[in-house]
Symmetry: C2
Subunit: 355 residues, 2 copies
Amino acid sequence: MPTPTNDVFLRALRREPTPYTPVWLMRQAGRYLPEYNATRARAGSFLALAKSPSLATEVTLQPLARFPLDAAILFSDILTVPDAMGLGLYFAGGEGPRFERTTADEAAIAKLEVPDMAKLSYVFDAVAEIKRALAGRLPLIGFSGSPFTLACYMIEGAGSADFATVRRMVWGRPDLLQRLVAINARAVAAYLNEQIAAGADAVMVFDTWGGLLSAAAYRSFSLAPMREVLAALAPAPDGRRVPTIVFTKGGGQWLDDLAATGASCVGLDWTVDIADARRRVGSRVALQGNLDPLVLLTSPEVVRRETAAIVRAAGPAPGHIFNLGHGIVPGTPPENVAALVEAVHSESRATRAGA
Amino acid sequence: MPTPTNDVFLRALRREPTPYTPVWLMRQAGRYLPEYNATRARAGSFLALAKSPSLATEVTLQPLARFPLDAAILFSDILTVPDAMGLGLYFAGGEGPRFERTTADEAAIAKLEVPDMAKLSYVFDAVAEIKRALAGRLPLIGFSGSPFTLACYMIEGAGSADFATVRRMVWGRPDLLQRLVAINARAVAAYLNEQIAAGADAVMVFDTWGGLLSAAAYRSFSLAPMREVLAALAPAPDGRRVPTIVFTKGGGQWLDDLAATGASCVGLDWTVDIADARRRVGSRVALQGNLDPLVLLTSPEVVRRETAAIVRAAGPAPGHIFNLGHGIVPGTPPENVAALVEAVHSESRATRAGA
């Protein structure tokens, strides 16, 4: 597999010097883009879009045609794995993901198995098709929800303000939750390995809800299974280790733990001071982040100012990948995204020239 | 004003040795108690209850009759101050607080003033009445929402999953938000000073939403105004300094900043490792917290185990006040609260004896 023409993202993940800071954005293919909405309308639904390799390829490429981003990310959902376990993923009008069946008691968890990866072939086909379309121009990021974050939706059946049923299980039935995240860890590892086999150049684990746990519960139910996933990842078809990114939203207190998972890079949400994060983790890992996505709802001028502030705070040491602290929100003006990407590149080039 | 008969809570706030760890619980007077629900039904609504000094006194005392708690806390709401500013606080069936009018633009914020404290006399009357009823047996905690948390509800008009309008103002109109929190800081200081004058033995500032800000925005819009509030507090009628507690939910990354506000005590939510927190803040402040309130939905056995774990993790140094990491949730069995209070007292006495 040839090295992508633009390998700045992969070099930053390995903490090698780069001429500028690479940038990609969580949900860079999404509802803020009119062309995405047109494709989605054609598909009929979000899930139909995600389950069609050719349409997933089409929307994956859309932001790359508009902005000089440094990586593509597979268009998919973080909850494909429990869907393949038979839980029945669906999206009820603008309300976020839901499952038809929950996995919240002993009987349901006992029946749970690592799904046949053939049920997820639409994802691996999309990875392969996107890779062909990229033709080596840019690296492609594969991803999954974290074992704990999958468990949150599997237990509650939907998103929640406080995931009370999950937290109750943490304290009342830790054995059940342990069994659930262990199965999820094996499933996520198999899933990411298939994405790697299909050509993903890097993989990211999204731990959206680990931040709602106590420190001890976080280590047991979110961090440890993520470490198992990372340890079980296979090399790429060319034999090289595939770089990895772990991201716990609300995990700013646990950056040292995240930096010790074996991941190449730790994602930071917008609450973290990135200069402080760099001091804490030293040169052990790359850091990804961390602009508040709401900045993109202001003006190009404010976007440029706040973007430059993060590039400067991240410092001159290799290993910063610019991103938001969470996904792009609908309603973001595309011209503000353009201003962001331009500011990351120009500010980081200027910083390197001046350093 | 005489020192309360049980002054263990006040001594712990001053980091003086105590024979055991004092305990009180956020929302200790609330919907998990049948007697509270009876009084509320009699009042007709939550607000009618909060606005009646005699009924507020009645419910404040209810948990003290059941459990050997070490402090009483005024029964009220964190949003009384914006209500007195004319925003029209109301509660729509089980949905949390709402305001009839928002304060989200230049014109609305320009008109805003520190309210006449006479509009809040029902609160100060309740403080005085509770103090009379307590007759010096236990200390009474007064409280307010933080300037930033009040601003969150004033801007959005209600709670929110992500407070997007607030975060957009942080980046797009920081000048407006600054003006809003500055007015709130003066209002909260005046409000707490009236509670102190009426007899509150300690006061707490609840910063429920500071944790959703970037580190820099947190310092500007949440931490700095809380520091102003604390600096503006008057001494108690007897001339002594009134101990203070600051609590930012989701503020685990900023404990050092919170410990430097001038507060006597920093509240910890359940995500914080209290042993780690003690190492970080040293002996500068007392710490309050931090059991996950969801533990109270399990069994007395689990409650005892997890309570003891926190007492031990907090360590033998003076200055721990046991509490939850957030309020008691409805549906909590009162017998689990009894088990918690008993476990705090017995485990901390045993720890001191063994040390």
